[in-house]
Amino acid sequence: MIKENKKTALLEIGTEELPYLYIKPVLEQMQQIARKHFNSLGLRYSKIKTYATPRRLVMLIDGLAEKSEDRVEEILGPALKVAKDSNGNYTRAALEFALKNDVLPEKLVKKVTERGDYFSFTKRNNGEKTENILAFIFLEVIKNLSFPKTMMWEESSFKFARPIRNIIALYGKKIIKFKVAGVSSSNWTIGLHVYDASKVKIDFPENYFLKMKNKSVIVDQNERCNEIKRIIELAVKDVGSVILDESLIDEVNYLVEYPTAILCTFDKKYLNLPQEVLAICMKKSQKCFAVNDKNGKFSNYFIGIKNGISSCQEIVREGYEKVIAARLADAEFFYLNDLKNGLKNNIEKLKCIIFHDEIGTIYEKLERIKQIVKLLNKEFNMQIDDTLLKKAVELSKTDLVSEMIFEYPELRGVMGKIYALKLGESFCIAESIEQHYYPLSASGTLPSNKIAVLISLADRIDTLSAMFSIGLETYGSADPYGLRRIAIGFIRIMIENLAIANLPIKNLSSIIGKVFEFLPENLKNNSKSKNAYEKLINFFWQKIESIFELQGYSYYEIKAVVNSSRINKSSSLSSIKSRLIALKNARKRDNFLAIATVFKRINNIINRAKKQNVSILEKVDRTLLIENSEKTLFFTVKEAKDAIANYVLKDEYDKVFDKILDIKPLIDDFFEKVIVMSEEKSLKFNRISLLNYIKNMFDGFIDFSALQ
């Protein structure tokens, strides 16, 4: 065996600073694109690795073969019968095929296929030298990366996230030559450009990383991340411990090519500001890390990460501290102003905040929410004092017009709570302001505060009913208003609050119907609002399904339970959950599949009978039960029916499945010994009615036909 020669290949796309959020997904894409082409061209490699700094996207291919594999390909030509004429001469079809593939017609051989005999020939593709293919693959990688936003910067109008300024393309020591976006590939790059923008020559891929490190660039993002954590720990060890924020580390990691940690301080007087405010000032405005003192208390230290080596730290520290001081001074100014202004004065200002052009202002929304919470309070029997509830609603969104939220919108709710407490509101009210936004995401924490539960539900159902009334229901994957998240939150809160979850779903539906009545007139009577209620109810059912899917139930289990719930008037959200649990358990039983099959069979017979216009009676005529097995079945089912109804009432679904298991052999016996489709019409009809009687027993409990 000949030993194959392998080398390492390197691609560095040198750019101006990339947005940090763009980088991770693109590293994944580079791998995929390269892998795809290596595979389809038969070029072997041992490993593809990708790296990035803010100014370079790097791909390193280890063990890349010197040439692609030889490949043998069979090419099928014209059918034999049209390839030669009656005299045995090649026809035009054959000659053209041979010409096209650059072979002599005599070289064509017969190939027997399922569709008849054909001419074919075997084409041998010799492998190609890697250095000839690699330019193509590198170009494909560069051209096919996708970014959330792209720009143009030079005359060829090439699009990329930010300008490309240099490209290293090496296979071993050889430069792989190509040109894209006006940049010719080469074997040089630059180091930390804000420090030294001179060219750095890379002789071969293996020494790239070390050479870059000598030029103050840590190319490997994992190494850089560890380095950031290490130097932060080192910097704070004498004063306390850093409040480690992984998302900030991630961001900072892609903002620097070489990190240096600088320990800074701010004036202690700002420690009077809420920690949430201090933290966001540091993180959002300055990408700095907050520090706890040795007693675990928020301190006036913070860590800034400088891009580059540790020289001139004093100058940079002074700068960081000055900027943070200005930010904190601003925040303090907002904070004191907001407190001076109070929350109640903001209620009127909400008249100027548009919730949605067609729906109206936040103020108007709150007026509706007041009516909705009152309704919910009563319907759910929450027994919260209505005046308290009204006050909580009024204050719930007052922080939206505060100066702090204008500067830091992500603190909404959080500031509301802080301000309410400072201004002497009760803890319960303050907490409800923060929690009425819960859950913040589809899987976020639910509100625990009872008032917040009601306001969150009311806020959500108001948004949904209004949005659906102006035709903004969601289609496909687009969901610009986040209606899915809002609806999932709505359902999750109800499922987790037993007082609500135990109510019949029909009651919940009728409450939702009443909510539509609170909408402004222009929303109720426009063409888009037609069927808005029905569409919303359907939307909720879909969300119920997705919530349970997330909880690990299978699609078919959910369908079987949800289908039945949609026809069962007394079914509740709790019962959906307990039936799902019972069904999941029941499916583990050995004979469950057999039961499902039997019930499907019953369903099929009934459906067929309905199509044939057989009148199915509610009651079974006992006098027409002549065979023993149908008598036994009827009386057993009759007895079981009451028991099952009783179990269902008590949510004891496991017992229901026990009962079904008891009956199953009798049904089998019935099918074995009795001919349903009897010649005697009255017998036939009665037997179908008997089957229907059995089926009815489980309607509203489980839809067996949905099970696979």
Binding site: E16, E17, L18, P19, Y20, P54, K149, M151, M152, W153, E154, E155, S157, A161, R162, P163, R165, G182, H193, V194, Y195, D196, A197, L255, Q286, C288, G304, K306, N307, G308, S311, C312, I315, V316, E318, G319, Y320, K322, V323, I324, A325, A326, A329, D330, F333, C352, I353, I354, D357, T361
Partner: protein
């Protein structure tokens, strides 16, 4: 280095890079981008390199002279280069050195910041440049202006002169900046800030502003029809500032606000289209 020296050094630096040193445009505007030397001249294919100081007005940012960092009137130093030089980041770093900020000694960072001007129908991608955490400059590769995709692409570099000066002079208040060796920024502008804040927030005549807005909007439309887009553009600048005044006065509901922005954008767009037509016709001659 005093305030006026910083400006002079920047002018000298960019003149050396081949930029003409333009002067401020004689209308009120929110930023250097509104100057026709940027808005109109970034359109079309002719190379264009320019640098200038732009006094900029943001009525809503007024603080009656009481906030050390916020002003309703301030200075931008604006550079536009079309096409954008390949080494523009390096050129910019060198410009910092001339005003006493040696980039090797500071933490200079290019932090993603996509720029958009809804009233001008303009957007671009680029960065905010941070010097030791301070936002010193806006750095943008223009992609569209007046809704028109650009080719070649211009780079716009906008220095916040007061911020940079405060940093260089180590001042905590803009009013303490040394304008020259005798006068401070406060000596020159503090009373302006106080009076203009009163005007912007309390004393403007809303009816008059609205009327003027409508008149200048009509004027822009009329002048475009007359095929004189350059004067028409002045009317756009006027509308934009009138809108800013109305906004600062809190005279617009959210819905009205959106409407006004849309109106300015619409005329900005028609003016840009007409301007492009004129220069293309001229090029054919």
């Amino acid at each position: 280095m005093n305030f006026q020296e910083i400006i002079m050094k920047l002018q000298k630096f960019w003149a050396k890079q081949g930029c003409i040193i333009w002067q401020p445009y004689d209308l009120e505007k929110g930023a250097g981008t509104f100057n026709p030397a940027t808005f109109l001249r970034s359109l079309g294919s002719k190379p264009w390199n320019v640098a200038y100081v732009e006094p900029s007005r943001r009525p809503s940012d007024g603080r009656y002279g009481q906030n050390p960092n916020r002003l309703q009137h301030y200075y931008q130093f604006q550079v536009v280069m079309k096409p954008a030089p390949k080494n523009i980041q390096q050129i910019y770093l060198k410009s910092l050195k001339t005003i006493g900020l040696n980039h090797k000694k500071h933490d200079v960072r290019f932090i993603e910041d996509d720029w958009e001007s809804p009233t001008l129908g303009a957007w671009g991608l680029g960065w905010e440049v941070w010097i030791d955490g301070m936002e010193a400059t806006q750095f943008t590769y223009f992609q569209q202006v007046g809704g028109i995709s650009l080719n070649p692409i211009s780079i716009e570099i906008t220095y916040g002169v007061e911020r940079i000066a405060m940093y260089v002079q180590k001042k905590n208040s803009v009013y303490d900046l040394e304008w020259n060796d005798e006068l401070t920024y406060g000596n020159i502008h503090l009373e302006d800030e106080r009076q203009w804040s009163i005007y912007n927030f309390e004393k403007t005549s809303v009816n008059m502003l609205k009327r003027h807005f409508n008149e200048f909007e009509q004027e822009a439309i009329r002048l475009v029809k007359e095929k004189i887009p350059i004067p028409a553009y002045d009317a756009v600048i006027k509308c934009s500032h009138l809108f800013n005044l109305l906004d600062a006065r809190g005279a617009l509901s959210a819905a009205e606000r959106v409407g006004y922005i849309l109106k300015v954008r619409t005329i900005a767009k028609t003016v840009a289209e007409e301007y492009l037509k004129t220069i293309e016709n001229e090029a054919k001659k």
